[in-house]
Every structure is written in C-alpha cells, then in structure tokens.
C-alpha cells in the first residue's frame, strides 16, 4: 500500500517563532508499518518545505498514493488549531482524488472519532488512541481488499452509512518493541526550534502520564471508551532513547531536541540511565525536557548529571497559585515543589520555562492577577501563559458543553491553540481573558532586571536565544489574545 503522510503548510505558536519539527505520529506509524512490510511510506511535510496548498495538491496528485495520513500527537504543533488544516487538506485531496483513502489520528480525532467522521465526509478512517498497531492492521486490511473494518481494534469507520467502531485497542506494553521513528522519510535538515535551534527535532520517549491534569491536551488523544489509558505511563528504555538520539545526531546531524512528552522524569532511574548512556556514547546533542515539579524535585541529585548530558532548559507547569487550586486541578504537585524546582534548576544554570494557565471557570480578574503575581515571584526565566482550552475528553470539555460555552459541532478551531481565549469563565468574558493574558505577558517580559539576569547568566546560548525569541514575539502573542489574530 502506497501511503503518504501529509502535514500541510501551517504556522507556529506565537511564542515559538519559526518552529517546525518532524511529525512524531507520522514518524512512528510509518516506521511500524514499514517494518511489518505493510506499506510503502512517503512523507510530505509542507510546513517544513514551505509548500503552499495548491502546490501540495499538485504533488499529491502526481504521487497518487492509495492512502493519505493526517494528524499529529503533540500540541507543540499549535494545539488543536492544526486540526483545521488537516480537515481542509482531507477535503481538498478527496476532491481531486476521490478514490484515495484518508486516515486521521492523534489529537482531537481520537476522542472525537464519531464527530470527525460525521462532520468531514472526506475522512474514511479514524485511528483512536495509540496508533501504530491499529494503523498497521488497517493497512493490512486494505491490502487484502477488505471492506469491513469494525473488527479492527481502535478503528472508527463507516459501514453502510453508519459509523462503526472496532473494539478498544490495548496499549503497547513494551514501547521498546517499536522501531525507531522513520526519520529517513523526513526533510530533517529543515527542522528548526524557536527560530534559532537547528538542526532540530522533537522526540517522544514515553506515553501517558501518572498525573492526569484536568486541562491536559492529551485527554483528546485517547479512545473515548478508554480514557483511563491516559494515566498508564509507559516509557521507552534509556538505551532505546539514546539509540534514537544517536541516530538523530550521527545520521541527521540534529543538534537540539525537545523531549516533548509532558513528564520525562517520572522514572528517575530511567532519566539517570539515559544521561549516563548518552555521555558514555559521547553524544553532544543538547536537549530540553518537560516535567512536573514533583518529579523535578525527586530528580534533584541528578540535575548536574542532566546538565552534563546536555540538558539546557527545563519546562514545568506552575499553572496556579495555591495548594487548593493545585488539588482542584489534580496537578499532583505542591507550592513548595514549585519553588524547589526553580531553585534546583537555577542552581545548575539550567534555564526554566514555567507555564501558567488562565481561564478556569472560577477565574476572576483578581484571581488571575494573584496567579500572575505568584508566577512573577517564583520567577521562571520564560513564562508561558496558556488559556484553558477544553481538551476533548477532559473534565473541562464536558463542563464547557454543559455550560453551552462550547458547541462540539461548531468549534472555531483555528483559535483552539491554547494562546487564544476560547471559553469565558463564570466571571469573565473572552475579551476580558484576552486582555488579562496580554497583561500577564507584558508584565512578565518588561522587567529589565529579569532580562539582564538572563542575558548575563551562565545559561547555554541556546536558552538565551529562546528567551529572545519569545520576547520578540510577545506583541504577536498579544495580538492573538486581544485581537484574535491567528498564529497557526
């Protein structure tokens, strides 16, 4: 089966400048099915190559694949806003190549499989949840000329005009059983992080999360019948992750990676082994990782080792300002751990990105300003202000529908990128939230003392460049939040 994995041309988060990385869903699915000899994969990354829609359609027509795959698993492409592009791409491809099969998966589509098939007739199949085995079996079925797919676990499809679902797909117990992502299919030299990090890519070394924050985007990438999968944290072994880093560094010349899952440090032993193995193999790759404050604190003794192994920036969620709120959001961290995280990373000259969220239903202007004051006091190097954007499958999604703040059949999805307010609170309108978010950004990024501290610090130059990139784009961020200007 000739399969083309397509990412259309789209923008990036305002905070990320020029930011484009290999699509991890495509890289994993393609590698798995290719190893099973089920498909002949090809990748068309129009974002990386700067190919506009018309040219993309010409290229697809010329290649004339039997299947096109769309979707992604990381919110760093631009939250849910990318779904608009995937949806439109599906429609346009189907128009010029009506016999082609279109498969989608990953964020949004997984949880909203039924709605996606109902709303977009161009989509033939939705892969729900973890996709490798499901996609492979679907391709195998197509290879064999099958027309009935409801026995394939994890597949949503149409049968006689009705939408049907295969059984729930079990999770892959051993992620090391997956082949290395098929980076050879991608234009690896084109990938850039935060305008200045290049060659660059994002990688994913674990799946699921033990914390289950109520606002996390990952709720949306699970089969709606198996949301408990979200809390099943599984990881590739340290050696396997280093194999991937080695491939990226030695074969593709990648110099910077972001380990993009939400929580790299869940298993301290694995993180330690990763660092030791990476150092042992003499790999120079610089890296950024994300983690919960509770896990950063547990890793305190290993931070110098992480630094030695190339980590130059750590990302974590401050989110809110009180223990009560942290409990309410199932964050699983404490205020003390937030302070401690800042302390241990700063002591080791590792730059810190702290996130706060605004737009919870109980938020008032005072609460948001208090939350900002807390973040300002905690003093990360880069503040990322995100708007609560109810991820399908999350508790906030159901609440927002109940309150009629969201109509699942009419979502202005281009703004669902976490940088635009898309739902009000019980006390604030969407424009109020836009203004307050912009206020937070301006307050944070206009403190000369903070700016001097960072620019004069011992941070890796890559971290300083990232800081500058974010600062440069504060006006863009504000234009999105206040005026509704689109980023993605």
């Amino acid at each position: 089966m000739r399969v083309l994995f397509v990412t259309p041309q789209l923008g990036s988060w305002a905070t990320h400048g020029h930011h484009v990385a290999a699509n991890q869903m495509h890289a994993h699915w393609a590698a798995y099915a290719r190893e099973k000899d089920t498909i002949e994969p090809e990748v068309l990354d129009c974002k990386a190559l700067g190919i506009p829609t018309d040219n993309m359609l010409e290229i697809i027509k010329e290649k004339s694949p039997e299947v096109v795959v769309l979707g992604d698993v990381l919110h760093s492409y631009g939250g849910f806003a990318v779904q608009w592009y995937f949806d439109e791409t599906a429609k346009k491809i189907k128009k010029i190549l009506p016999n082609i099969k279109i498969v989608v998966g990953g964020l949004w589509y997984s949880y909203l499989s039924k709605e996606s098939l109902q709303q977009n007739p161009a989509i033939d199949f939705v892969v729900m949840g973890e996709g490798e085995a499901t996609f492979n079996e679907l391709m195998d079925a197509l290879n064999k000329g099958k027309t009935n797919f409801e026995d394939i676990p994890g597949v949503a499809s149409r049968k006689n005009g009705e939408i049907v679902f295969g059984p729930v797909r079990d999770l892959i117990a051993n992620l090391d059983s997956l082949p290395l992502p098929a980076y050879d299919l991608f234009p690896m030299e084109k990938y850039v992080g935060h305008t200045y990090w290049k060659p660059f890519t994002e990688i994913v070394t674990s799946r699921g999360c033990p914390h289950g924050c109520t606002f996390c985007y990952e709720w949306s990438e699970h089969d709606p019948r198996a949301l408990k999968h979200f809390n099943r944290w599984r990881a590739k072994s340290a050696k396997r992750v280093v194999d991937e880093v080695e491939l990226l560094e030695k074969k593709f010349g990648v110099k910077v990676i972001v380990i993009q899952e939400d929580n790299f440090n869940v298993n301290g032993k694995r993180a330690r082994e990763f660092c030791e193995e990476k150092i042992k193999r003499g790999l120079d790759m610089k890296w950024v990782s994300l983690g919960c404050a509770s896990d950063w604190v547990k890793a305190e003794a290993d931070i110098p080792l992480m630094k030695k192994a190339g980590m130059f920036m750590g990302v974590f969620g401050i989110e809110v300002a009180s223990e009560q709120e942290l409990r309410k959001l199932d964050k699983g961290i404490t205020i003390e751990q937030i302070y401690k995280t800042i302390d241990i990373l700063r002591r080791n000259d590792i730059a810190i990105v702290g996130d706060i969220m605004i737009g919870f239903d109980y938020d008032t202007e005072q609460i948001i300003k208090d939350r900002f004051a807390f973040a300002d006091k905690v003093d990360p190097d880069i503040l990322w202000v995100g708007y609560l954007t109810p991820p399908p499958g999350s508790p906030h999604w159901a609440d927002a529908i109940d309150k009629k703040w969201v109509d699942p059949n009419n979502v202005d999805i281009l703004k669902w990128d976490f940088l635009h307010p898309v739902v009000p609170t019980n006390h604030l309108s969407i424009p109020d939230l836009g203004r307050l978010g912009a206020w937070c950004m301006r307050e944070f990024f206009s403190k000369p003392g903070r700016i001097h501290r960072i620019l004069e610090s011992n941070f890796d130059p890559l971290a300083k460049k990232c800081f500058q990139d974010v600062m440069n784009n504060v006006p863009q961020w504000e234009a999105g939040a206040v005026e509704g200007k689109l980023h993605v």
Partner: protein
C-alpha cells in the same frame, strides 16, 4: 516676607544630607537611569559598597581593575537627573558617564543600536534655570572619544550625533519631531541635556551614551525587543571598557 537664603537647597546641601564626601566616590561616576540598569552595572564592579540610598536613587562605589568607580541610578527624567548630577558634581566628581535610552530620529538607526551624544538640543525645563539660550552644551571630548574607541574595540555599532532632550515624552508630535530632526538631532531622550549642561556648569567632564529603545520615525517600539535589553548590557560594557582605556592611556602617558 523675604527669603532668608539666596537658594533654598543646593547640591552641596544634598550631598551633606546623605553623608557623601569627595573621598567617598570614584574617579569615574557611571550613571544609568533606572535601578534595574544600576543593578546590572553594579554586578560588574568589584567590591561595591553602598554610599547611600535616597528617595529612589542609590549609589555604590567599588573598583574596576584597581580604579575606583561609582555607580548611581541618576534618574529617567531631567528633574531628578538635575538633583543627582548636582550631588556628584558637588563632591567633585571628575568624570560622569550617563547610560541612558533614547528614541531614534532617523530610519537607519535600529532598536538595539547605541548612540553617543556629540551635542544636544535643550528641550527640557531644567536647564533654563542654569544657562541662557546661547549656551552651547557639549560633552567632554576625551570621555566621548574613549567611549567611541571602547565601542570600536568591542565591535559595537555606535551612532554619533546630536541628541534632543525633552520632558514631554507624549508630545513628540510629527511637527516637533521633524523640526528637531531637521535641526540635526538623531535621537531624543529625557536626560542628556540636563546632565551634560549641569556637569559643564560645574566644569566636570561628562558624556552620554544611549541605547535605542524605539524608532520615532518608523514607529517601531522596542520595549519587548530583546535587542534593546542586550544593548543596555552592551552599553554598560562599553562604559567600563572606556574607563579601562582611559586608565591604560594614563599609564602609557606616564611611561
């Protein structure tokens, strides 16, 4: 009722009030405008000791490679700069280097560039109390040349020219700006003319170097542009390098 003194309060009175004496300050007084910029400067001075803290102004004196250097946030406006300049001139400061910010008045000057004042247009309200209209305010040639050489040595882009100082930041109208640009001003700030004029009245050497925060002609705003903040750090480094150059030249002359 007649006033009992010819002048209510002088720079000398203020210096006395904060217990500042000539021997307390360094040979070079570096005066950034804001406390944040002062903090960044003080980090680069060895063994800084606080001289005083008064209203929103703080002074430290330390060393730079064996030379005593004083750092003080002189203020962002002409009114408070007049006070701080008076204080340092009244304790016999020898050299004052102002580290400020400005808006560019030509399109080719970018946010993050540095400006070195060659002369000024006095547009603020303080200096008419010190000098008459014909007075020509000029920075010290030697100090200015040292800053130029320091920038060149560091590979820093520097523009030299006339700086217009105003009190009315929000009345930089098209008419007024074009008039000042037509008179040769390449930048506008709120401090240079006051500091340089008062220093000149006291016969104290002074120079003014400025980081470009925005471009008045194009409308480019730079207060979230990292280039502006990098320029502030660069400007501090240029001033310190100029001190070193002046001291090295003095050593060479003595040989």
């Amino acid at each position: 009722m007649p006033m009992r003194k010819p002048i209510h309060m002088t720079g000398k009175d203020l210096a006395g009030m904060v217990q500042l004496r000539a021997q307390d300050i360094g040979k070079y007084v570096i005066m950034p405008g804001t406390p944040d910029r002062l903090e960044a400067l003080v980090k680069k001075i060895q063994n800084p000791m606080k001289n005083f803290s008064f209203m929103e102004h703080t002074m430290y004196t330390g060393e730079l490679d064996g030379v005593r250097v004083t750092a003080m946030n002189g203020g962002m406006f002409s009114a408070n700069t007049a006070i701080t300049t008076e204080i340092v001139c009244n304790v016999e400061a020898q050299n004052i280097i102002r580290l400020g910010s400005c808006g560019a008045l030509t399109e080719d000057i970018k946010v993050g560039d540095l400006i070195l004042a060659d002369s000024v247009i006095r547009g603020e309200g303080v200096t008419p109390y010190y000098v008459d209209e014909e007075f020509e305010t000029l920075p010290d040639e030697g100090l200015t040349r040292a800053l130029q050489e320091a920038a060149e040595k560091m590979g820093v882009k520097l523009h030299r020219g006339k700086v217009w100082s105003t009190d009315a930041l929000l009345r930089e109208t098209k008419e007024i700006v074009e008039e000042k640009a037509g008179a040769g001003a390449i930048a506008v700030d709120m401090v240079s003319s006051t500091l340089l004029t008062i220093a000149q009245v006291y016969k104290t050497k002074a120079a003014s170097i400025l980081a470009v925060s925005d471009n008045v002609m194009t409308g480019e705003m730079g207060f979230t542009n990292p280039a502006y903040y990098i320029a502030q750090t660069t400007m501090i480094n240029v001033a310190l390098e100029a001190v070193k150059l002046l001291e090295n030249a003095k050593i060479a002359d003595n040989k």
